[in-house]
Amino acid sequence: MEEVFNVLPTMLKEKLIISFSDLNEVEELRLRVSRPVEVIANNQSTFLPYIVTEEDGSQILGKLSQFSIYTIEEELKKGYITIKGGHRVGLAGRVVTENGMVKMIRDISSYNFRIAKEKVGIASPFVKYLYDGRWKNTMLIGPPQAGKTTLLRDFARVVSQGDHVRGIKPQKVGIVDERSEIAGSVKGVPQYTFGERIDVLDACPKAEGMMMLVRSMSPHIILVDEIGKKEDVDAILEAIFAGVQLIVTVHGYSLEEIRKRPSLQPLFQNGTFERFIEISNYPRPGNITDIKNRKNISLFSQKAVY
């Protein structure tokens, strides 16, 4: 949270500290110009009696860019900025287009601070389902905000550090981090405590990134967030034929629903994926509801809440 506080106006910072005893629970901090501040913690939203002024807005943008808008040109095009600590600031406002392409966001009216959580150890209980002599191709399925990326991040750590208890050796991990969310890289350097054997392609398109990793970094395992497009699926199949294992996440509510998605069909036809982990954000984010195998049989009947 320290990194987020650094860019907030002092007044707001003080209000936050007074109103929230446990700031670690905060998931999102939404600032909208001339509206009160919204704080989302534990799936519940609260409004603080603090109206964000235009000056606050420009101060925040100044701090985010270190007063040099030209350094965040690309970010303004994509609509979010990753700051130190891997937190992401989503932006909305007046969009400027050129030749039908988004050029930048001007007059920013909404700032959405998504507080990145590093929960070291949350993947450990599931390692036994995913590892059997080698890591199995795995798909994490869950709705937005369910904690897929957080779980994926911890899998990256487990794979690269290995697991002494189960005798799993550390392996080379490649991450294609299209939205700078998994590794939260700032200037290309990952912000999270991964193991030593991690290579991150930051802000790289997924399909291309996977191929780049296969060609140049010889990873054992590739981790990708939010697959869905046809190119992604093609690249996944390519990577698997090249002998690389994958752990990916997909937006969705259940395996049944994902199976019906046309663009993902090739993945199921070949039986490439062996484990499916379903995640729900109810009652709280990160609740693993089920782990299924290739034949849609649950390996895991008991609910685990961490």
């Binding site: 100044g62 860019s65 270190q66 007063f67 040099s68 808008i69 030209y70 350094t71 930048m104």
Partner: protein
């Protein structure tokens, strides 16, 4: 006794003349340094895309004199104070202006440049820098002209006016 007094008078008017001549050449030097600084800034913005404070620090290393102090001061203000880039620029520039012999019109050019510093994308920022450079060039030309026409004159005037006073007094 008389002669010692006369010498004092000539000495002090000469010094005054040289002082004004020195100010003229100092202005040209400062403006030249500014041109260099802005050109480097353009490179930092366009190619390395460094934020202003890092760019300023880097450019400061390549220069010396008052402009170096200005850049360091600007970077420090961006880092520690709650001022925006525009305000920090203005603030540092005011302090700088007190210490150096450049004219008000030169400072105006720099102030105007500071109005939009860091507020645009790369291309617009570059345009602003080029615009400021053009203005500075004009100022520099003017400074060179006035230096060449007034520098010697000011020195001569200093010596001669001292002699004149002495002659009148004797």
């Amino acid at each position: 006794m008389k002669w010692i007094g006369a010498l004092f008078i000539i000495f002090s008017t000469t010094w005054l003349g040289f002082y004004f001549a020195g100010r003229l050449s100092e202005r040209t030097k400062e403006l030249r340094a500014w041109k260099l600084a802005l050109q480097s800034l353009e490179a930092e913005v366009m190619y390395s895309q460094l934020p202003l404070q890092e760019a300023s620090r880097r450019i400061a290393k390549q220069l010396n004199g008052q402009i170096q102090l200005f850049l360091i001061d600007f970077a420090n203000q961006l880092e520690t104070s709650a001022l925006s880039a525009k305000e920090a620029w203005k603030h540092s520039l005011q302090e700088y202006a007190e210490k150096v012999a450049i004219k008000d019109s030169d400072i105006q050019v720099l102030l105007q440049f500071g109005e939009t510093i860091g507020m645009h994308d790369k291309i617009s920022q570059q345009k602003q820098i080029i615009l400021a450079l053009k203005h500075l060039e004009r100022e520099e030309q003017e400074a060179i002209d006035s230096q060449s026409s007034y520098e010697r004159m000011s020195k001569m005037l200093g010596v001669l006016s001292g002699i004149l006073i002495v002659i009148l007094l004797i």
